[in-house]
């Protein structure tokens, strides 16, 4: 570390030691640009910086542990443990009413106009919004969160058990969107399929996204950052048997941006559940992949024609 004060205008990152960069990153207070610069170096696999960051984080943790120790209310532990047991999805019995085969993609084809394409989809949205416009409302008061659904190895990789080949094409656009939203401070939620090893879901689907395996992890190009949230779920909707709704409520989220895959399966299921709960839903076309292109268009049409039930108030 250079003990001389850097120029008062700031720092030339290239000339700054990894030790100093790690210290600033661990403590906080960097500008978004500086932070992104360090994130980029960490993403590119800079081992010196990563090692320095681990040491700096430990140093800061020592300070926190030294200075802040306030025993919580005695009954909190018991309540927390009970909640954790309920949150545990292992051993959940599969609902026999679920169809054995997902039919979304097939139905999508049946509903499609022969000439349907993405341009037609845009026209459809325009017409729908002209016919049933949203009441005027300030976008500035919206509190947005981004959901990244199932961009996991077991879905995205070639020859993966649940391979959705179209998912690979959306990665660059999704990276771009996440970068932008992180700069804006938008909370990012990774919604990850996650099954116990003996899940009866595997009676009807190939074995996939088994908790703790590499296949259940988000692909490295979209790896979650430390400030992001990860939510494990077992079925089509991100709201089914998860704590997502409560977290969004507590954060005051009013609008959701759904990304990932599959548009015609889990994105659709999540969108419908979100709309029923009053969230405004946006699905950027470039950032979602369908099981088929037709399925995606079908799903976006369905989502685009619905409005949230009792929309959440933007403050």
């Amino acid at each position: 570390m250079n003990d001389q004060d850097p120029k008062s205008t700031g720092l030339e990152f290239e000339q700054t030691s990894a030790e100093a960069l790690a210290a600033w990153y661990a403590v906080g207070g960097l500008s978004p640009e500086e932070r992104e610069e360090i994130d980029a170096r960490l993403r590119s696999g800079d081992p010196t910086l990563a090692a320095e960051l681990a040491k700096a984080s430990d140093g800061v943790a020592l300070l926190i542990a030294q200075e802040w120790a306030v025993p919580p209310a005695p009954d909190l532990k018991e309540r927390l443990m009970e909640a954790l047991l309920k949150a545990e999805p292992v051993g959940r019995q599969k609902d026999e009413t679920w169809p054995a085969v997902a039919s979304g993609a097939t139905e999508a084809g049946a509903f499609m106009d022969a000439d349907a394409d993405l341009k037609a989809l845009s026209r459809y949205f325009e017409q729908a919004h002209q016919r049933f416009p949203f009441p005027p409302e300030s976008d500035r008061a919206a509190r947005k969160a981004v959901l990244v659904i199932d961009m996991l190895h077991d879905y995205v990789d070639e020859h993966a058990p649940m391979e959705a080949p179209l998912a690979r094409a959306i990665v660059p656009a999704l990276q771009e969107l996440l970068e932008l939203e992180r700069e804006r401070g938008t909370p990012i939620f990774y919604i990850n399929d996650s099954h116990p090893d003996d899940d009866r879901d595997f009676d009807v689907w190939p074995k996939h996204a088994v908790r703790g395996t590499a296949g259940a992890r988000v692909i490295p190009q979209l790896a979650p950052r430390v400030q992001d949230y990860q939510v494990e779920r077992v079925s089509y909707s991100a709201f089914f048997e998860t704590g997502l709704e409560g977290m969004l409520e507590r954060m005051g989220v009013t609008d959701l941006v759904l990304t990932g895959q599959a548009a015609d399966a889990c994105v659709l299921g999540t969108a419908i559940d979100a709309l029923m709960r009053g969230f405004r839903v946006e699905v950027p076309e470039r950032c979602v992949a369908g099981l088929t292109e037709e399925g995606k268009i079908f799903a976006l049409r369905r989502i685009g024609m619905l409005k949230p039930y009792q929309p959440k108030k933007r403050r």
């Binding site: 570390m1 003990d3 001389q4 004060d5 850097p6 120029k7 008062s8 205008t9 700031g10 720092l11 030790e19 100093a20 790690a22 210290a23 600033w24 661990a26 403590v27 906080g28 207070g29 960097l30 500008s31 990563a50 960051l53 681990a54 040491k55 700096a56 984080s57 430990d58 140093g59 800061v60 943790a61 020592l62 300070l63 926190i64 542990a65 030294q66 200075e67 802040w68 120790a69 306030v70 025993p71 919580p72 209310a73 005695p74 909190l76 532990k77 927390l80 443990m81 954790l84 949150a87 292992v90 401070g185 703790g212 430390v226 400030q227 990860q230 494990e232 507590r250 954060m251 005051g252």
Partner: protein, 210 residues
């Protein structure tokens, strides 16, 4: 002293306690509720204290606690020991969740949360007066940690507090303290270097013992 230093209850070196934490995490990954209970006993006061310091409100701190330990329970597999200790992982999650809550409620935390309300069941440790536990902890490592704390100069400590707890940017800290931006950055880097050296010394001491 702190829960960290009394973590194992037998006054052992925190370096060893940090190593044990890694084993706890692998047990958590196997859904071992007893491991969760141990982790909670070790660090609930730290998590609660940090959350209280940032949010300035005991109810918010309890909410953050709930979120932090739930996240740890559900995402133990995400912990990577190469990226730092379990304690630093907990601190990072706690800080992020607490700042999220503060931002969501658009409420600035009290700059000095030491005056915690009565119902928070405790007070942050006084910086000059060690807690009763400190008196029952013997060993050089405790002295070493205290030395590191006293080695931080007042401006170094202030810069860290404003950045870490108050989420101020380095430029905002410079404006608030009247120091040049470069000096603020140097204070932070120097302070972290001192803290790191203490951690390394603790770990070296533990390695020599085992």
């Amino acid at each position: 002293m702190t829960q960290l230093l009394s973590a194992s209850g037998d006054g052992q070196n925190p370096g060893r306690a940090w190593q044990e934490d890694v084993e706890l995490m692998s047990r958590l990954d196997r859904r071992d509720m007893e491991a969760m209970s141990q982790l909670y006993d070790r660090y609930s006061a730290m998590v609660n204290g940090l959350a209280l310091r940032i949010t300035g409100h005991p109810g918010d701190a309890a909410e953050v606690m709930q979120e932090v330990f739930t996240q740890v329970w559900r995402q133990a597999a995400n912990y990577e020991s190469g990226r730092g200790s379990v304690v630093s992982w907990l601190c990072t999650i706690t800080r992020t969740r607490a700042l999220d809550l503060v931002r969501a409620r658009a409420r600035r935390p009290a700059l000095e949360a030491e005056r915690a309300p009565d119902d928070c069941r405790g007070e942050p440790q006084d910086r000059d007066e060690p807690s009763p536990e400190a008196h029952v902890i013997a060993g050089q490592s405790v002295v070493m940690v205290k030395n590191a704390m006293t080695q931080l100069s007042a401006p170094e400590r202030r810069a860290i507090e404003l950045a870490y707890y108050e989420d101020l940017s380095h430029s905002e800290i410079a404006a608030l303290t009247g120091l040049p931006l470069g000096t603020v950055k140097t204070h932070i880097a120097r302070a972290v270097r001192k803290l790191k050296m203490t951690v390394e010394a603790m770990q070296g001491q533990e390695a020599a013992r085992t």
